[in-house]
């Protein structure tokens, strides 16, 4: 039986991953560099920079070609932010195997930390000025807000994880779902967070939003995209290092057999807590970018739907595989926009023609289709795909 299986796998065509790993190091390096350069080129997609020439065909992919299309650079930015979220959630759901339905909570905490401490208009900044004898235009510098957002989200990740990570499966999902709502409701009902009105004048890398800003302006979103792209690349490198380390092995061991792992000396709770904290920090970072680019946030932007949407991105793309999670995020952010600029959504009820709303319809459909045809996701992690198959076989047929 096993011998048979082995010969079968040997006969199979070499997979992409095998071929990739077979390449010499320098060759891989150049492929990656090429990919990164292409990503940075994306805002110009279709044009040859510095000239008036066009590359035929490529421009068709942009979202601003048709009538009423959306600004291509801001779509790219949004894609990058959602990719960041998907990467963070992938650490929790895909790598550590913990279903977190309250991820929007961390996104919100990241967004609110730059809003509350960086904005001139924030009640927190006003309070600090009054009590600590600070300059009348004092607010925390944006770069410090990054650090603050990461520290606060990590801390809240640990705070949420400490009592809840002892729970398994469904229980954890429900508690985290509650967490996401709690954060939103606090933000809505507390005066210190600006309540339902939210916070304006959230700063970016060049300080408070201002018409004179050279790079990070409201009119030209290119630099925002590049900033988010840098964040994505840094996070990919970081998560890769974790995956290929003791930490990644422990996550995998916990996912496969938690009790056996414990007997082998794996401190499951500690590594799950790390997954939560790291995932939370990445979520916080994306929240910060989101808030800075918008320059305005209010609690309604952080509702539960968004949490479900995040999980859907990871699951549709392929949990456990960074490329998969990223693909899920890109598809489900980009497609609705592109379809709208094609005028392809006109037949839908008015409510769904707005991409923000249509996205939910698409998500629902994508989830159903993917779960039927490809339950492991579009680009699954090989290991997770097999785990899933095993589990399916364990379920009695006549359930």
């Amino acid at each position: 039986m096993t011998a048979n299986e082995n010969t079968v796998t040997k006969k199979k065509k070499r997979s992409f991953a095998d071929r990739w790993n077979g390449l010499p190091g320098w060759s891989r390096f150049f492929w990656i560099m090429g990919g990164v350069i292409f990503l940075f080129y994306l805002p110009e997609l279709g044009n040859i920079p510095g000239t008036n020439l066009e590359i035929p065909g490529l421009g068709f992919l942009r979202t601003d070609v048709g009538v009423g299309g959306s600004d291509w650079d801001s779509i790219l930015f949004r894609c990058a932010v959602f990719v960041l979220i998907a990467l963070g959630l992938n650490v929790v759901v895909g790598l550590a195997g913990l279903l977190d339905l309250g991820y929007v909570g961390f996104f919100a905490i990241g967004a609110y930390s730059v809003a509350l401490f960086g904005s001139q208009q924030s009640p927190v900044v006003k309070l600090l000025r009054a009590n600590f004898d600070l300059a009348p235009d004092w607010a925390l510098a944006w770069s410090w807000c990054i650090l603050l957002a990461i520290v606060l989200t990590m801390f809240s990740g640990v705070l949420l994880g400490w009592p809840t990570l002892r729970l398994r499966g469904d229980y954890l999902a429900i508690v985290t779902l509650g967490f996401g709502e709690i954060i939103r409701i606090i933000a809505r009902n507390s005066t210190i967070t600006g309540g339902p009105d939210g916070i304006t004048a959230i700063p970016g890398p060049e300080g408070a939003p201002n018409a004179q800003n050279k790079y990070f302006s409201i009119l030209d979103q290119k630099w925002w995209y590049w900033l988010a792209l840098v964040a994505v690349l840094v996070v990919i490198l970081a998560v890769r290092r974790l995956e290929n380390s003791r930490v990644g092995r422990s996550w995998l061991a916990i996912r496969e057999d938690e009790d056996a792992a414990a007997v082998m000396g794996v401190h499951g709770f500690k590594f799950k807590l790390w997954a939560f904290a790291i995932g939370a920090a990445i979520g916080g970072l994306s929240g910060l970018l989101f808030a800075s680019q918008q320059a305005f946030i209010d609690p309604s932007q952080f509702n539960v739907n968004l949490s479900i949407l995040f999980v859907a991105m990871v699951v549709v793309g392929g949990a456990g595989n960074m490329a998969g999670a990223a693909l899920g995020a890109i598809l489900l952010t980009y497609l609705p926009e592109r379809l709208r600029s094609l005028g392809a959504l006109e037949f839908l009820p008015e409510r769904f023609q707005d991409p923000a709303e249509f996205r939910y319809l698409l998500f629902g459909l994508a989830m159903v289709v993917v779960m039927i045809l490809r339950p492991q996701g579009l680009l699954p992690s090989k290991r997770r795909a097999r785990e899933l198959k095993d589990r399916a076989q364990e379920v009695p047929v006549n359930g």
Binding site: E5, V247, R249, E256, A262, V263, G265, R383
Partner: protein, 295 residues
């Protein structure tokens, strides 16, 4: 073995599952450096005894003292860190990992570096030639790349994390060689033949650097020749200084390899002594032949 020091003391351990008394005031000692056999008919409580020792279950009463510390009531990973490793009767490898990765999970038990160390590669050390990554790389077509990585590592230093990973990989391969499965290193654990899986479990347990190795029917399902080979391996393990507690059904096999034997029946200890004594003990004979115990 003039001075025999006690490594593990099972002291009056009782373990109940609802109404079922799986262990009933069981006491025995395990001496440093011996191979102790734990035998008994099906359902006697042998596996439960392992579970009580390794923290999978908490004894209802009584305690387990290992190396001078009370370990009963501690978490399984803590007990592992204090030096008890085990295998499982129904193999419990990490099926999606390669054989090597399975053993690496074992070595992780002794590692210090966690997420920050893996992320930032700190602290770093310079100039430890032998610890540099890929130093002993083969001179294949990729030589220049290896050379480049090597000089980069020299320049930037090598993180403690990297050093641990290198050492772990080397140690894991050595252990796999020791257990006779080095050729399976890159196979997925699930695809290994049954015998190799059993051996891999032993390698993984040894990777945690235990003082005491508990083997739960490691030769189950083996043919006689394979069994003999495995017993040789167990003796080899003992000779490296690891104390072994062995559950095995095959009486003849146990007699050949163990220094002492403890016999359980219905959760109670019915005999404890040298193999020859135990074999001639009427209670043991009765238990194994199914004669109702008169005593």
């Amino acid at each position: 073995m003039a001075e025999r020091s006690v490594l593990l003391k099972v002291d009056n351990v009782t373990l109940k599952f609802g109404g079922v008394v799986a262990l009933d005031s069981v006491s025995f000692d395990l001496y440093q450096g011996e191979i102790l056999g734990l035998i008994g008919p099906n359902g006697a409580g042998k596996t439960t005894c392992f579970n009580a020792m390794t923290g999978v279950y908490r004894p209802t009463s009584g305690q387990v003292v290992f190396d001078g510390q009370t370990v009963s009531g501690k978490k399984p990973y803590e007990i592992n860190h204090s030096g008890i490793a085990r295998t499982f009767q129904n193999i419990r490898l990490f099926p999606e990992m390669t054989a090597l990765e399975n053993v690496l999970v074992g070595t992780d038990s002794r590692h210090k570096v966690s997420a920050p160390g893996a992320l930032f590669g700190l602290p770093r050390r310079w100039g430890h030639e032998e610890d540099l990554p890929e130093v002993r790389a083969k001179g294949g077509p990729d030589r220049s790349w290896q050379e480049f990585k090597r000089s980069a590592a020299k320049f930037f230093g090598v993180s403690r994390h990297m050093q641990e990973e290198r050492a772990a990989e080397r140690k894991a391969l050595e252990l796999m060689h020791f257990c006779g499965i080095e050729r399976a290193a890159n196979e997925q654990a699930r695809n290994l033949p049954y015998g190799s899986q059993r051996r891999l479990e032993i390698a993984r347990a040894l990777a945690t650097e235990p003082k005491l190795l508990c083997l739960d029917e490691p030769a189950a399902g083996f043919n006689p020749a394979e069994k003999v080979e495995l017993m040789d391996l167990i003796k080899k393990i003992r000779d490296t200084g690891v104390t072994v507690l062995l559950i095995e059904h095959d009486m003849r096999l146990v007699m050949g390899v163990t220094d002492r034997i403890v016999v359980l029946e219905f959760g109670r200890k019915i005999a404890d002594g040298a193999p020859a004594e135990v074999r001639d003990n009427p209670k043991v004979i009765a238990a194994y032949l199914g004669v109702p115990d008169a005593a």
